[in-house]
């Protein structure tokens, strides 16, 4: 049986509430709710201050300035300027929180080709962690290792360890099916099942054994609302999911992943096939989801990484080159390679 934990603040709200309000108002209430919370030391105040006064268009235009240095004028937006800025970030220092996902000495092979070399990193709980790096550097391989999606590839082999809440994902007693229920995934190419919108979101719940119609209805509405899709589809829940637009399909896939109440959501270039408007919707969504979920996102879009993530890991040629707070990576990278990459000198 699925249990819908009450750890989510909004779980207690009437499910219909968000449905009636347009998404922007939804975001405002989300912010109010979020701001009312006590802050932890590491909670990066990041875009809030900036975000509050700006509308989406400006937001999209003003990208990398959205670093935590929210006090800086938003018009200073090019990378070179950002990189020459020496002002140290307020949020330096080690993560004061325990890692949700902990990766150590992780290697990965496709047959005899070694594509990941000794990866070590700790992914914090309820934060957005971005993975960036040139094409073919192993980002997808890495993210798919976390929920063992690579298991279905013949001849693929992993060594080293990945733990979630201290439990070894690749351990002998690990249950892949259970793991994948805890770790949701959204793919680059949206992959709705050729079923109705309702059945898509219900899929994970049903395989978890949920049969109660009222319960299903409720969770489906809440998941679709969370994925900012509810008001667009509430009148045609039983229409085919394939009739939705690309951006809607991707949000449906996010809703489908959220419905089973995962702790971690992995996203492999979730917005790469979408137009800017759909992309900004997804980004907004990711930003809101991080209060409840640990999110790992692969992206080729530097601005996107800067906008949505708290921490960023830079990969190259199968190695983790640098991993730090996002603003550090973009404004004050320690490694020359990172600097070259984020300033667009290669990749």
């Amino acid at each position: 049986m699925m249990t819908i934990e009450m750890r989510r603040r909004d779980a207690a709200e009437p499910a219909g509430e968000d449905a009636s309000v347009p998404p922007r108002a939804g975001r405002a209430s989300f912010r109010a709710e979020r701001d009312a919370l006590p802050r932890t030391g590491v909670d990066v105040p990041f875009p809030d201050a900036v975000r509050r006064e700006r509308d989406d268009a400006e937001w999209n235009a003003a990208v990398p300035a959205a670093g935590p240095a929210a006090s800086s004028p938003p018009q200073n937006t090019n990378h070179a300027q950002l990189l020459t800025r020496t002002q140290p970030s307020a949020q330096e220092g080690p993560m004061s929180q325990e890692a949700k996902i902990s990766v150590s000495n992780f290697d990965f092979y496709y047959g005899t080709a070694k594509v990941l070399h000794g990866i070590n990193l700790d992914i914090p709980d309820r934060k957005v962690t971005a993975l960036i790096g040139p094409s073919g550097c192993g980002k997808s391989t890495f993210i798919r290792s976390i929920n063992r999606m690579n298991d279905i590839i013949p001849d693929a082999r992993a060594s080293g360890s990945i733990t979630i809440d201290g439990q070894d994902v690749y351990g002998g007693d690990a249950d892949v099916v259970e793991l994948r229920r805890r770790v949701g995934m959204v793919f680059q190419k949206s992959n709705p099942f050729p079923k109705s919108i309702y059945d898509n979101v219900a899929y994970g719940l049903r395989i978890g054994g949920m049969r109660n119609k009222r319960q299903l209805d409720e969770i489906i509405e809440r998941s679709l609302t969370r994925a900012a899709l509810w008001h667009e589809v509430k009148d045609r829940l039983h229409a085919s999911a394939l009739a939705l637009s690309g951006g809607q399909q991707q949000r449906l896939c996010i809703a489908r992943a959220l419905a089973v109440d995962p702790e971690i959501v992995l996203m492999d270039e979730p917005a790469s096939a979408l137009d800017p408007i759909a992309t900004s919707k997804i980004e907004e969504l990711i930003y809101e989801l991080k209060d409840n979920y640990t999110i790992v996102i692969v992206t080729h879009n530097m601005q996107q990484a800067a906008r949505v993530s708290d921490r960023t890991a830079f990969f190259m040629l199968g190695r983790l080159i640098e991993y730090a707070e996002t603003n550090e990576i973009f404004m004050n990278p320690k490694e020359k390679m990172t600097e070259d990459y984020v300033t667009g000198r290669f990749g």
Partner: protein, 283 residues
Amino acid sequence: MTANLRRRKWFSRFFEILCGLAVVIALIPLAMILFYVIKEGAGALNWDFFTKMPKPVGESGGGMANAIVGTLILIGIAALFAVPVGGICGIHLAEYPGTKFSSVVRFAADVLNGVPSIVVGIFAYGILVLPVKRFSAIAGGVALGLLMVPIVVRTTEELIRLVPGGLREGALALGATRSRAVFGVILPAALPGILTGILVALARVAGETAPLLFTAFNNRFWSTSLTQPIASLTVQVFTYAISPYDDWHRQAWAGAFLLVMIILTLSIAARFAVRRLERMNRS
């Protein structure tokens, strides 16, 4: 224009004509068959043909009601036998393509596909008729089913392979087991195509005569019993066509016409299903 270019143009023209000729040669018999069957058969087809039983020799009139129903029963049994067996084999081949067992299954399906239908009939005779010493609808249906199996295996395998890999990953990523992913997501996605394949296979076996000769045999009387000999359109057409009576010849043409129409309808239905599937995949 150089001589070389002229020669190449001439060659190209020559092969175009050759191809056109080949098409005409292939189409002429088809057109002639259809023409004759329609000319002879459509006239002999009347309401009695569908509703009346065969008349004894010498009396004119009567119909093939028992054979029409018999054919439907036979292809029904064939489908009941071949769809589960072929479907499961096809799923296995698509899911575990590399295993030793799979190559054995694939080879067996290919061989079975090439076995002459009369041999399949003799086989069914050996295992289903001889032991009980009676021809039966079941024996005939199984013989037809055996002929359907390889077609169903291959279409199922191919159509499951055509389902985008993202669907499988999507299901697995939600915590589905492999079998749940296959039966809950992949198979339903491939189903319209698989149904098409089944229709094509049915059309193919509906026209078989040889495997029925010593399995379902024939029956002059009305019978829907599965353990009794049963009439079929093909065997009835065969029996009437080799008889010396004009009235029976006319009825044989009518039966042939009906068979052609059934097969044409099934093929067209299959085409439609494929079109719809293609449209669905494109969107």
